[in-house]
Structures are given as C-alpha cells and as structure tokens.
Amino acid sequence: MAKGGRGMPSHRNPIYMDHAATSFPKPEVVAEAMVENLREFSANPGRSGHFLSLEASRALFEARETVAEFFRVDDSRKVIFTKNVTEALNLAIYGLLRQGDHVVTTSMEHNSVMRPLRDLEARGMVQVSVVPSSPEGCADIEGISAAVRPGQTRLIVINHASNVVGTLVDIGKVAEVKGDAYLLVDAAQSAGCFPIDLSLLDVDLFAFTGHKALLGPQGTGGLIMRTGKEPVRPLMRGGTGSHSEFEEQPEFLPDKLESGTPNGCGIAGLAAGIRFVKKRGIGLIREHEKHLTARLLEGLMRMDRVHVYGPIDPERQTAVVSINVDGMSPSEVGFQLDRNFDICVRTGLHCAPAAHKTIGSFPSGTVRISMGMTNTEDEVEEIIQGLRWLVSH
C-alpha cells in the first residue's frame, strides 16, 4: 500500500488507526459481494418482474434479514436502510419530533445528533436539555433521569460509545429512566465491535453505520425500529415499488421510510461485512480490541508529556483513545506520525465540540487513535515508539 496519491513513495505499509472514522482495509468478501452485485444483477429491485429485478430484490431482502438477525430483531421490515448513520439519526430526529417536544441528550454527542437538535431548537420547535457527562465521558444516568420531564420529554438521544474517548454507555440503564420518551441510540461507534442484542434492550430507535466496525462500504447504514409503530415521518417520499396507484407514501415498513432506488451494491457489501463479523465472532473481536487498547494505554501512560483522556480502562471503552502531547498541537502530532511513521490517526474536534469541552480539550481537540479488528500488537508498539520519538525531539 504505497502513498502514491501524494507523490511520495512509502517505505513501509501505513498503519491505519482511524477506524472510528471508517474501517480499513475491508475483508475481501465485501468487495467480492459488491462486484458480483454490480456485474450480475444490479437491476432495480421490486420495480420489475423480470429475473434480474427479482435477484436484486432477493439480495436486498437477504441483506435486511442479515442485519435483523445480527442485532436480534424479530422482523426485518423494521430495518430501514440509509446511506449512513447521519441520515438514520436525521430520519429519527426530524421524523419523530413535533412542535413543543422536549429532548434530553448528553454532552458527548456527535454533530450528527447535535446539529439537527440545535436546528429544531433554533426554529423554536423543541427544547433541548444537554446533560453533562463526566470528564471521562461517562453518561450521568441520574442527571438524565432528572432532566426527563414526564409528559413533555418525547425523545432521549444518546451515543452507545463516544467517538472521541470511546466511553461506553450502559444503554439498559438509560432505558430504565426514559419514562414515556422514545430512546434513540447512536451506535455509530459500537455496532460491529461491541455485542448488541436488541431483543434484550428497550431501545426504540437504533441508528447504525455500515462502514465502520460492520466492515461494509461507505454509503450504507440504517435505522432499526423496535415495534415498527414508532410515528417516524419519512425524510424522503417517492417511488417505493408498492401502492403505485396512489400518490401518497405507503404507511407500511420498510417502504414508508425508503424511497427511490436503494444502494443495492453497497448493501450487498454491508451484508458481506456483517457475515464476516459474525463468522469472526463479536466476542473475539471485542477481546482483541480490548487487548490492543490495554497495550496502547499501558505504553501511553508511561510517557511524559503525553496526556491521555477518557476512562483509561479497556472494559469501559471501545478501542478509541484520545491524547495530547504537551507543547505540540494535535495536528502537529498527527502530521509527524503520518509523515515520519506512516501512522494514520485523526486530529481535531472529531465533529463533537461538546465532547471536547467535556473532557477539557476544547478548542484545539485531540489526537485520536482508533483501532479495529485488523490492527495488531506490533502496530500498537510502532505507534508507541513513534510517539516516544516525537516527545523526545
């Protein structure tokens, strides 16, 4: 893997530690599934009666069933495919909220949650209560409970794991305090690297992305509904291949919330990624990532001038670690790691300004090291050595 794009030859393979942004590389089976879809049957599913359309329909249906089974959802019609988790969150937020509703959320949320909420708030449509999380990024369950206004709070939105410091949220505990409100979980950072069983969790709306730990391509994601009767209005209306004699959007799922031609090729890739994760075993993936996180934290904590944020505990976080180096800006650190060591990390605010305010790294942000299934102990060792070199020069 040469850095040919920059015109600079690489003397070794890049070490990719930006899995929180997107996973790389993808398993071969993902590309294979996408190429097969494109080559063999990328006809329009459900719109025609011919063989190719049927094959496309079957592939789409099977992908829906694969997602449903992976998250333990009883009916695959409750799985709504979107182009990413941002769309899924927008669909849930804009689709559910009405004039006068109250929303409760935390200070660790991503802009894909905060921007829709702040937009609705600015337009005078809803009131938003942001419950501050601890400096480690831990959700304040009692605070959330206190913020819930019976009869007025319509929605609680919370991330399953922070994209800045990886802190995991106990979704079960949040569900216990939700009252009559709907609970929307942003699982962008957890789906595929942390066990999730929706049949055991009282989550009303579950938003996930396809291109991170689920190992699918960019352009995939979805929203899963608990009962299918949640009153979510469509974000888009149009052709659904059903009820075509009517000019009104159908009321049944998934058609109601999926209009237009789906990303068949991408969804085929997503299904292949999920099957790969399932085969590897989410338990094994989680153990591997915890192990890497432990090694990384161990190395980081021994270094002077390196400040580590978050719970600093592999049990309480995903494989996402944010740091800063005294005397260097995050972007400088990231640049040096990239240029001198071919290590890919992400610097800055990671689209979560409030999270950085919570952990104390606003406005310059942090260096975020996020690992995935494909990372190794040797790579962890390399980044530690690289940082050691940086802090001593």
């Binding site: 719109r47 025609s48 049927l54 291949g241 075509s244 004699e245």
Partner: protein, 69 residues
C-alpha cells in the same frame, strides 16, 4: 421475498410472478402455484406467520378471488 424463502424450505412448487394487472396495479410480486397446491401454500405461509393479502384462481375469463375458510 419471505414467502418465497418459506415455500422453498417447505418444498412447495411455485413461481414468483409480477402481480397480474387485473388484480392490482402494484409493482409487487405474487406467488403462482398449481390450483391443487393452493391449500398447501396457504398452510405453509400461515404457519410461518406470513399474512396473505389475497388468493385468486385463474380462469378462462380472468381472476376470481378465493374466499375459503
């Protein structure tokens, strides 16, 4: 799609066709089977919790809705 999967698993002979325009203007699909298999198809589908929207018998004059118990 689910009906297709269930019938295949149940070893029932069928074909998947576009819904005949005489029945609905939906762009949807329908299961076509020999008239003697109708009862078996119904059983297999209902057993799997699949709701049947309608059943029709093709005659020389068109499609007649089947209303049995």
């Amino acid at each position: 799609m689910k009906a297709e999967k269930t019938l295949k698993a149940g070893g029932v002979g069928f074909d998947t066709i576009p819904v005949p325009k005489e029945i609905s203007s939906d762009c949807g699909m329908a299961i076509m089977t020999a008239s003697m298999e109708t009862h078996r198809v119904k059983q297999v589908l209902l057993k799997s919790g699949i709701a049947i929207k309608g059943m029709y018998l093709k005659t020389v004059t068109g499609y007649e809705e089947i209303n049995d118990g």
